[in-house]
């Protein structure tokens, strides 16, 4: 497996997981904005990152239930499921952190 194959496969896989990831990210933002303990704009803290990371267990479960055959393509490219999930978790957490930093910078 080359890096370019992995990145291409990761991009394909991420697109299938992204809707769930976006929903959970928006949920975290919504709770921070209008929840019982408003904290808006959100500061990027370890607790926030851990909260974001914890959502991946639910995303993984939903993905396994809704697309039980999704891995065959990637296995044919010599990529194990854990390698896909590791990439997705890193990429999505970085995107989420970037969004938090951006909001913090532009909102009053």
């Amino acid at each position: 497996m080359t890096i370019s194959t992995y990145l291409r496969a990761l991009g394909l896989f991420y697109r299938t997981v992204a809707p769930f990831a976006v929903v959970f990210s928006l949920l975290i933002f919504a709770v921070a904005a209008v929840g019982p303990f408003p904290n808006w704009p959100l500061p990027l803290t370890l607790g926030l990152v851990l909260t974001k990371l914890s959502t991946f267990s639910v995303i993984w479960y939903l993905s396994e239930q809704l697309r039980p055959h999704q891995y065959w393509l990637y296995l044919n490219l010599h990529i194990a499921p854990w390698q896909l999930w590791a990439g997705v978790i890193v990429a999505d957490t970085l995107l989420f952190s970037a969004a938090v930093l951006l909001l913090h910078a532009v909102l009053p």
């Binding site: 497996m1 394909l12 697109r15 299938t16 065959w72 044919n76 490219l77």
Partner: protein
């Protein structure tokens, strides 16, 4: 096509049971370069499970898969060793045929060469193709990929007869450089194609004689 060195894929110790029902019982399977090996059996007898276990996509505790005597579990992690076509769709609908070929390192034009109507569809998305055409494209890409072995679960499913004949010829050509293991209920097409035929029945895998039809009748796979 350059002459390929010979490789032997062996799998054994494969056991699977659902409660009291034994699906696979200490199966031994062998495929080598230059062979098309057919795997026949009734619905639900464990053919797909066996292919998936050999490929490594399904983990069974005692399963041993070896290539040239070297253990390769899970086999799919070894680049260039083998690929596998499952019964379910393999390629995402949004991918174009050309992009899919690129992912597998296959020259798309060359892979679709024997099918002039397919060559014009390189830029189309998989989701825009008919079910039979999608199946055919998937088979062709895996067949042309540079692997030592290819495993196909129902490669002829949904493919129209005129393409099945061409595809069978391509299997015969491809076996010069790779070992092929396939399972499909279209026995009329499969049997002439195969150098070795296995029948999976009651959890056991039996290698049939060179004329397998009488044995298939005796064992109830074909009507007498």
């Amino acid at each position: 096509m350059s002459a390929a060195s010979s490789h032997v894929l062996e799998a054994d110790g494969i056991q699977l049971a659902f409660g009291e029902r034994r699906i696979l019982s200490d199966v031994y399977l062998r495929v080598q370069t230059g062979q098309v090996v057919g795997l026949l059996g009734r619905n639900g007898c464990g053919k797909s499970t066996l292919l998936q276990t050999v490929f490594g996509g399904r983990h069974l505790p005692d399963a041993s898969v070896r290539v040239n005597g070297r253990r390769v579990v899970p086999a799919y992690r070894q680049p260039g060793l083998l690929n596998y076509l499952p019964q379910v769709p393999l390629l995402p609908e949004r991918l174009t045929v050309a992009e899919a070929a690129r992912m597998f390192g296959v020259n798309a034009q060359q892979a679709l060469d024997g099918f002039p109507d397919l060559s014009a569809q390189l830029s189309r998305r998989i989701g825009e193709l008919s079910g039979g055409t999608t199946r055919l494209v998937q088979v062709l890409l895996l067949l042309h990929a540079n692997t030592q072995f290819s495993l196909f679960d129902e490669p002829f499913s949904g493919v129209m007869p005129v393409h099945v004949e061409t595809l069978a010829d391509l299997f015969q050509q491809a076996k010069a450089r790779k070992g092929i293991l396939l399972t499909d209920h279209r026995y009329a097409e499969v049997l002439p194609l195969c150098d070795v035929v296995y029948l999976l029945q009651n959890g056991r895998l039996e290698q049939l004689p060179s004329d397998p039809v009488p044995a298939l009748r005796d064992r109830g796979y074909l009507a007498s």
